[in-house]
């Protein structure tokens, strides 16, 4: 089945939802979810770039002819990006835990000791 440009639309929507969440939600955990959404959208975009109809991935012992082979660069990029995303999400969540411990709140509008 040909789904055309649908994955690109979904990726753009995910990025937009992520930015919306980041801008308008007040809970720090939800902000982290927003960042994760943006990241998922970008990852989906990268994976979609690498999709070729009826293409075959070149696994070492089973490489197809050149016309049907898919260069696995976007997949490699996505894997790297997922790993980086895991690290950043973990770091953000652990900061959120310590902010809750110190400030007693997760409201982004109340965590503003550093300003001016």
């Amino acid at each position: 089945m040909n789904i055309g440009n649908l994955p690109f639309v979904v990726a753009a929507l995910l990025v937009a939802f992520g930015i919306y969440t980041f801008l308008f939600k007040r809970n720090l955990i939800k902000l982290v979810i927003g960042v994760s959404l943006v990241e998922t959208g970008v990852n989906l975009f990268l994976v979609t770039l690498g999709y070729r109809t009826a293409g075959i991935a070149p696994i070492y012992t089973f490489a197809p002819e050149a016309e049907r082979m898919v260069l696995p660069t976007p997949q490699a990029l996505t894997l790297t990006s997922i790993v980086i995303g895991l690290a950043t999400t973990a770091l953000l969540l652990s900061f959120a835990v310590f902010i809750h411990r110190h400030y007693g709140t997760l409201d982004v509008r109340k965590v503003k000791e550093l300003r001016g």
């Binding site: 930015i19 980041f22 801008l23 902000l31 509008r109 965590v111 550093l114």
Partner: protein, 113 residues
């Protein structure tokens, strides 16, 4: 080799330093010609505070960081009130600035293309 030139102006630090030292020497020479009748421990060495009594502890004479430039900040209070309002400390506002600048940059780049 030592100086730099911008094509319309030049800057040579060694020449500048020599001039600076020369002016210092002249300054000290003028100072040495001055009246040496200066008495320590008399009213001549007291701090003059607009005619007010001098506080005993010299720590009380130290102008603290907060009080420096009070007048200037007061004079610019309109500017400072606005610019401090921008640094809200709320993360969402910072991200909103980011998205806003992104939008402006897009508009400019697409318009001038």
């Amino acid at each position: 080799m030592n100086g730099i030139s911008s094509g319309f102006g030049a800057w040579n630090p060694i020449a500048w330093a020599l001039l600076f030292i020369g002016i210092l020497v002249v300054g000290f020479f003028v100072r040495s010609r001055g009246n040496a009748g200066y008495k320590r421990g008399t009213g001549q060495t007291k701090v003059f505070l607009s005619g007010n009594e001098e506080p005993d502890a010299s720590a009380a004479l130290h102008v603290r960081g907060r009080h420096l430039y009070w007048g200037m900040v007061e004079g610019l209070s309109g500017y400072y009130r606005r610019v401090k309002e921008l640094h809200t400390g709320v993360l969402s506002d910072y991200a909103a600035w980011f998205v806003g600048v992104l939008a402006v940059v897009f508009v400019i780049l697409v318009l001038v293309r």
